[in-house]
């Protein structure tokens, strides 16, 4: 008998075939397609017309810097740019070295950088140079990452870990560094404030959450009940109350004579305390997904408890809950808009203050649409990047 070799049935490709298959397959689908098109047209036409003719987008371009950084000193903006360049460099390097895992984020950053450069050009603003430079740096470091010898690569994780404290130092400044004069956090604002809170709170709360999740499964009753009590307490109250508590109570916990930290730090503390509880539950879900056999196999090899946790259990547990962890990241990003209630100027609050300027009265739609697209754009970019990362890290798991 000869072997039977057959090609799989050919798929019909092309836009026309797609249209026919998905939109015009039967007479009622044709009808529904046209109905939907008509509906979309009647709904969207006024909005598009408004945004192209009536809308006063000048409110955005005139206040763009305010939206982005609030009252951050204008002569110190180079620090923000430097943070962006460093991010570009790290993303490029990661793309070159980690390949697929970082490619999603790098591509998104590349696209965003180019888009911002174009917008800058259209608005006759000089920032297009900075954005183009960022893109150039990203691409340059990508090339560097491709040719870097394996020995230099292990530094990358360390560089990422150092990046966040470094950015905080850059933005906040320090009395001890002459060219980095301190910028008090109460004049941070806009997207800068939103992102700083998001990043710091997320970066700190994840390890705390892991500790809490492990604590919740601990055999030591004190540790276990503390963890359970903490998690349930934080999950049982609204974020707003935690923010208020952090704002009002942090000074009380400090010894007399110590100047209480300013509102931004207190807000960040509140977010960390709150977020850690949620991350703990995410991680716990992951820990439960790792089977008993994995513990037994590790024990049978003579691995100690801490080694088993760090090399066998946690890597699998965290991988299993990457979507949940990223989900918490995103919701924290959106929740930062609550800092307005303790008097901070995040991007949404800046929007409201812009509306109070006499020349831009009545531009609510423009301002809130802008804020809407900022939040949405960031989350879309983040979602895309993280999904690519999940796919890349899922290799070999099946």
């Amino acid at each position: 008998m000869t072997a039977i070799e057959m090609q799989p049935p050919r798929l019909i490709l092309g836009p026309v075939a797609w249209l026919r298959k998905n939109l015009f397959s039967t007479w009622y689908n044709v009808l529904l397609t046209f109905l939907a098109l008509g509906l979309l047209y009647t709904l969207l036409r006024p909005a598009v017309q408004w945004s192209l003719t009536e809308a006063r987008w000048g409110v955005i371009s005139a206040n763009l810097t305010l939206f982005m950084v609030g009252q951050y000193p204008r002569d110190q903006l180079w620090r923000v740019w430097l943070s962006i360049y460093l991010l570009g460099a790290l993303l490029g390097l990661s793309w070159g070295i980690w390949k697929h895992a970082a490619r999603g984020f790098a591509l998104i950053a590349l696209g965003a950088g180019l888009a911002f450069a174009v917008i800058g050009l259209l608005l006759n603003s000089n920032v297009w140079i900075n954005w183009l430079l960022s893109v150039g740096i990203l691409l340059g470091f990508y090339a560097l990452g491709r040719i870097l010898p394996a020995r230099g690569r292990s530094i990358l994780t360390l560089a990422w870990l150092l990046y966040f404290p470094l950015v905080i130092l850059l933005i906040a400044g320090s009395r001890f560094i002459p060219f980095l004069s301190p910028v008090p956090t109460n004049i941070w604002g806009g997207l800068l404030l939103t992102l700083m809170i998001t990043i710091i709170a997320n970066v700190v709360s994840l390890p705390l959450g892991i500790l809490l999740a492990l604590g919740r499964r601990s055999k030591l009753p004190v540790v276990r009940y503390f963890s359970i009590g903490y998690i349930e307490l934080m999950r049982g109250v609204p974020l707003v109350t935690v923010l208020f508590m952090a704002y009002l109570l942090v000074p009380l916990f400090l010894p007399l004579g110590v100047r209480p930290p300013d509102a931004v730090i207190r807000a960040i503390v509140g977010f960390i305390l709150f977020e850690a509880a949620y991350q703990a539950e995410n991680v716990r879900g992951g820990l439960q997904a790792v089977g008993r056999g994995q513990y037994e196999a590790a024990q049978a090899l003579g691995l100690s408890g801490p080694l088993t946790m760090s090399f066998i259990i946690l890597p699998q547990a965290l991988r299993a809950v990457i979507p949940a962890i990223f989900n918490s990241f995103i919701s924290l990003f959106k929740d930062t808009s609550l800092v307005a209630i303790i008097g901070l100027f995040d991007i949404l609050r800046i929007g409201r203050s812009v509306l109070a300027q006499s020349e831009w009265l009545g531009t609510h739609r423009e301002v809130f649409l802008f804020a809407f697209f900022i939040y949405w754009g960031f989350n879309m970019a983040f979602t895309y990047g993280s999904r690519r990362m999940e796919e890349a890290m899922g290799v070999g798991r099946r």
Binding site: A297, L301, G302, Q316, G396, R397
Partner: protein, 251 residues
């Protein structure tokens, strides 16, 4: 019970009892293994055979009696337990490979972190072990990309990487498709012939006949009968042994 000379024995178990809640799983097991012996344990499911070998490396805790492995008695002292575990390799029914690590990393992990073997040396001996179990070309794949038989051979290599004095096998071929059982048994036969001390829970009677030094028939938490393969297969004394053998050998 008469006093027996067990100074030569690498595993000594005296009157081992274990309960799962109120269920009496092990009812006084006395089973000693000499260095270099291949001991096969068989019996119906629920007879306590798996539980017994899991007591040897303390994956289960016995509640009465004594277990002494390589001169160290198993107690609650975690240092003792970890020391014994690194001397005793174990192969599981469900392989239990680490799915997030490559084959090579699975094998290198314990030697590098428990034995502090330098990376290069660990890699080299891992590759040698993979050659020994016949799949050096799979070194950089993930467990999920291998067949069951290949995974179980990796699991054997992983256990051997710690250079154990004793190997425990807990139904190593029960989760495998028939055509893959042979490739795993071949590796185990080779291992037995190399002089490894082995304690094997299995129903592969062909394997037992070929390499077992002694066999133990477990039922309801007790050793019903023991002896050389010849004695067990040709002249079983107990009715329960005869019945069980006839059931598993009939087809």
């Amino acid at each position: 019970m008469s006093e027996i000379d067990d100074s030569q024995d690498i595993i000594i178990s005296r009157d081992v009892h274990k309960w799962f809640d109120n269920f009496h799983v092990l009812k006084g097991i006395n089973l000693n293994v000499k260095k270099g012996e291949v001991v096969v344990i068989f019996g119906p499911s629920g007879s306590g055979k798996s539980t017994f070998i899991r007591c040897i490396n303390r994956l289960e805790e016995h509640q009465r009696g004594q277990i002494i492995v390589d001169g160290v008695e198993l107690t609650n002292d975690i240092r003792n337990i970890e020391a014994i575990r690194s001397e005793v390799g174990m192969v599981f029914q469900q392989f239990n490979l680490f799915p997030h690590l490559t084959v090579l990393q699975n094998i290198m992990l314990a030697p590098s972190w428990v034995r502090r073997t330098p990376k290069e040396q660990a890699r080299e001996s891992a590759m040698q072990l993979l050659k020994r179990v016949g799949i050096p070309e799979q070194a950089n794949k993930y467990p999920g990309q291998l067949s069951g038989g290949q995974q179980q051979r990796v699991a054997i290599a992983r256990a051997l990487a710690m250079q154990p004095k004793i190997m425990l096998f807990d139904e190593p071929t029960s989760a495998l498709d028939p055509e893959m059982i042979k490739e795993v048994l071949d590796v185990m036969v080779e291992l037995a012939k190399s002089g490894m001390t082995m304690l094997v829970v299995t129903h592969e009677m062909g394997f037992a006949r070929a390499v077992a030094s002694r066999m133990f028939f477990f039922d309801e938490g007790q050793i019903v009968e023991s002896g050389t393969p010849d004695e067990i297969f040709k002249r079983p004394k107990e009715d329960r042994t005869k019945l069980f053998l006839s059931q598993i050998l009939s087809h």
